[in-house]
C-alpha cells in the first residue's frame, strides 16, 4: 500500500469520525448560526451610528466577526485528534506498528476532521450572507491570495494543535495545555477581536506569534484591510511559521519516540 493511499485512508477515517454523529453535526451547525447571529448583533450594536474606527467601518467589522466565527468553528475545534486518548489508553502501540509514520497518521486524521467540519463553516457563512453581514473581496487578486492564506492558516492551526497534543507523551494528561492553547488561539489568532482594535503593545506582541496566521491573516486579506505588499508579507510569515513549526514538530517527535510508554495490557 502506497504512503499516499494510507494517508488518504487516515483522512477518510477522520472525516467519518465527524460525519457519523449527524445529530451532533446538525446541532453544531444550528448553534454556529446562533453564534454568528449574536456576534453580528454585538458588532452592529457597538458600531451603531459610529464613524469608522481605526480606519475600519461597521460593515467590515461585522463581516470580520462573522467569517472569523465560522473559521474558528472549522479550524479550532476543542479536540482535533485522538492522539492524547490513544497515548493514554495504550493504543499508541498499535499505531506505531503501522507502516505509515505516526505523525502522518495523526495529520491525516486531523485533516479528515477538518474536512468533516467544513459543512459547518459553509452553513455559518450562508447564514451571515443572508443577514447581509458579508462583503466580497476587493478583487480577484485578493480572492486568490485569501485562498492561499486560508490553506496556510489551516497548516499553522494543524501543526500547533499537534505540537500541543504531543505534550501527552510526557504528561499523559493534556487537557491543561490544550486549554491554554485554546486561549492562545481564540484570542491571539484574532478570532474574537481583530488585531486592528488591539492596543499597540498587544498588537506588536501578537504579531510575533504564529496564531494570527490562523484567522486574522486570511480574513483581513479577504476584506481588503491588508493589501498588496503587506498582504504578501503576511502570507510569507505564514509560510515561515509552517517551516518553523514543522521543524519543531520533528524535533519534539524525535524526543517523544524515546518517551513512549505503552499503558494497558
Amino acid at each position: 500500500m502506497s504512503t499516499v493511499r494510507a494517508f488518504r485512508g487516515m483522512t477518510r477515517a477522520g472525516t467519518r469520525s465527524v460525519l457519523i454523529y449527524r445529530g451532533d453535526l446538525v446541532t453544531g451547525a444550528i448553534t454556529l448560526v446562533i453564534q454568528v447571529v449574536l456576534a453580528i448583533a454585538v458588532w452592529r450594536t457597538v458600531y451603531s451610528g459610529r464613524a469608522p474606527v481605526n480606519g475600519v467601518d461597521g460593515q467590515t467589522a461585522v463581516s470580520y466577526a462573522a467569517i472569523a466565527a465560522c473559521l474558528q468553528a472549522v479550524l479550532l475545534p476543542w479536540q482535533f485528534s485522538s492522539l492524547p486518548e490513544r497515548i493514554r489508553n495504550g493504543q499508541i502501540a498499535t499505531d506505531l506498528t503501522r507502516p505509515l509514520g505516526l505523525m502522518w497518521q495523526v495529520l491525516g486524521q486531523n485533516l479528515g476532521v477538518l474536512f468533516g467540519r467544513l459543512p459547518l463553516g459553509v452553513v455559518g457563512l450562508v447564514a451571515a450572507g443572508l443577514l447581509g453581514a458579508l462583503t466580497g473581496p476587493p478583487g480577484l487578486g485578493a480572492a486568490l491570495l485569501t485562498a492561499v492564506a486560508t490553506v496556510g492558516g489551516v497548516a499553522v492551526a494543524m501543526l500547533c494543535n499537534l505540537i500541543v497534543s504531543m505534550v501527552t507523551f510526557w504528561t499523559f494528561e493534556v487537557s491543561g495545555p490544550l486549554i491554554v492553547y485554546r486561549f492562545g488561539s481564540a484570542f491571539l489568532s484574532g478570532s474574537l477581536i481583530p488585531l486592528w482594535f488591539m492596543p499597540g503593545w498587544l498588537r506588536s506582541s501578537v504579531e510575533w506569534l504564529p496564531f494570527q496566521a490562523q484567522v486574522y491573516t486570511p480574513v483581513s486579506i479577504y476584506l481588503g484591510q491588508t493589501r498588496g505588499g503587506e498582504a504578501l508579507a503576511l502570507v510569507c510569515v505564514q509560510l515561515a511559521w509552517v517551516v518553523v513549526l514543522t521543524l519543531l514538530l520533528e524535533l519534539i517527535w524525535r524526543r517523544a519516540r524515546h518517551k513512549v510508554v505503552v499503558q494497558g495490557g
Partner: protein, 269 residues
C-alpha cells in the same frame, strides 16, 4: 452505602477524583492557568472593545465588567462541584455508564464526581477575584441587603448553569452525542452572557429568559443592583426574583435526567 449520606458520598468520591487528577502535576498547573487564561481572555476582549468604543448599548466598562464578574463567579459555582458532567457523553458512548448503573450509588452523584475539573479552580480564583474588584468599582451603593442579594444571585446563576448541563446529560441517553450543544451552551454563556442582553432584540432576549435561560445567570440580577431595570421589558418583581430561577432550572434539568435515564442503551462490549 445506604447508611452513608449523599453529602458524605459526594465528599469521598470527589476527594478520590481530585487525588487522581493531582497525579499529573504539569497538567494540574497548566489547567489551573488555563482556567484563568480562558476566562481572562473574555475580560481582555471586553477591555479592548470598551477601550476602543466606550459603550455597548449604553453600558460602560464598570457595568459590563460587573456583569462579567457575576457571570464568572456563578460559572465557578457550577464548574467546581458539577463540572465533570461534561464527560457524560463520553461515558455513555463507550459503555462506561454500565458500571455506573451497577454501583449502589446515585448515578448523578457518580457523574459529578467522575473527574475533578481542575480548570474550575482557575475559574473560581478569577471569578471571585473579579467579583470583589468589579463589585467594588461598580456604580452600586452597597448595603448588607444588596450584598446578600448578590450572593443569592451568584448561587442561583451557578444552579441555572448546572440545570442546563444536567438537561444535556439526560439528552445524551437518547442522542449519540450532545457535544456541540454543550460547547454551544458553554461558549454562549462565556461569550455573551456578560453583555446587556436586551441589545440582541426583544425576541432573542425572551429566548434567553425561557428556552435558554442564560439571562438569569447574571444579567437580570445585575441590572437590578445597577438600577438599570428600565432597560428591560419585564416587571421589576420578576427581575428581582431572578435568583429563584436557579433551583427551578436545576429541578427541571434533574427531572429530565431521571426521566431519560431508563432510555440508556448499553453500546455493548
Amino acid at each position: 452505602m445506604a447508611d452513608v449520606s449523599w453529602v458524605r458520598q459526594y465528599v469521598i468520591l470527589q476527594r478520590a477524583a481530585l487525588r487522581a487528577q493531582l497525579q499529573y502535576r504539569v497538567n494540574f498547573w497548566t489547567t489551573l492557568m488555563g482556567g484563568v487564561a480562558y476566562q481572562g481572555t473574555q475580560l481582555l476582549f471586553l477591555g479592548v472593545l470598551l477601550g476602543k468604543f466606550g459603550l455597548i448599548a449604553g453600558w460602560g466598562f464598570r457595568e459590563v465588567a460587573f456583569v462579567f464578574a457575576m457571570r464568572l463567579a456563578s460559572h465557578a459555582l457550577y464548574v467546581v462541584p458539577f463540572g465533570s458532567l461534561r464527560l457524560t457523553d463520553l461515558i455513555v458512548r463507550d459503555g462506561e455508564f454500565d458500571r455506573v448503573l451497577l454501583r449502589p450509588v446515585n448515578p448523578f452523584l457518580q457523574l459529578i464526581t467522575r473527574q475533578f475539573p481542575l480548570m474550575s479552580i482557575g475559574d473560581a480564583l478569577l471569578g471571585f477575584g473579579a467579583l470583589i474588584v468589579f463589585g467594588w468599582q461598580a456604580p452600586v451603593e452597597w448595603s448588607v441587603a444588596k450584598v446578600g442579594y448578590l450572593l443569592l444571585a451568584v448561587i442561583g446563576g451557578g444552579l441555572v448553569e448546572t440545570g442546563i448541563q444536567t438537561f444535556f446529560c439526560g439528552l445524551s441517553f437518547v442522542a449519540a452525542s450532545t457535544f456541540s450543544l454543550r460547547i454551544f451552551a458553554d461558549n454562549s454563556i462565556t461569550q455573551f452572557s456578560g453583555y446587556p442582553l436586551t441589545m440582541f432584540g426583544r425576541g432573542v432576549f425572551y429566548g434567553f429568559c425561557s428556552v435558554f435561560p442564560m439571562a438569569f445567570i447574571a444579567f437580570l440580577p445585575a441590572s437590578l443592583l445597577l438600577g438599570r431595570t428600565e432597560d428591560i421589558p419585564l416587571p421589576v418583581w420578576l427581575i428581582a426574583a431572578a435568583p429563584v430561577a436557579g433551583p427551578v432550572v436545576l429541578a427541571l434539568g434533574y427531572a429530565f435526567f431521571i426521566r431519560m435515564l431508563p432510555r440508556y442503551a448499553s453500546p455493548g462490549s
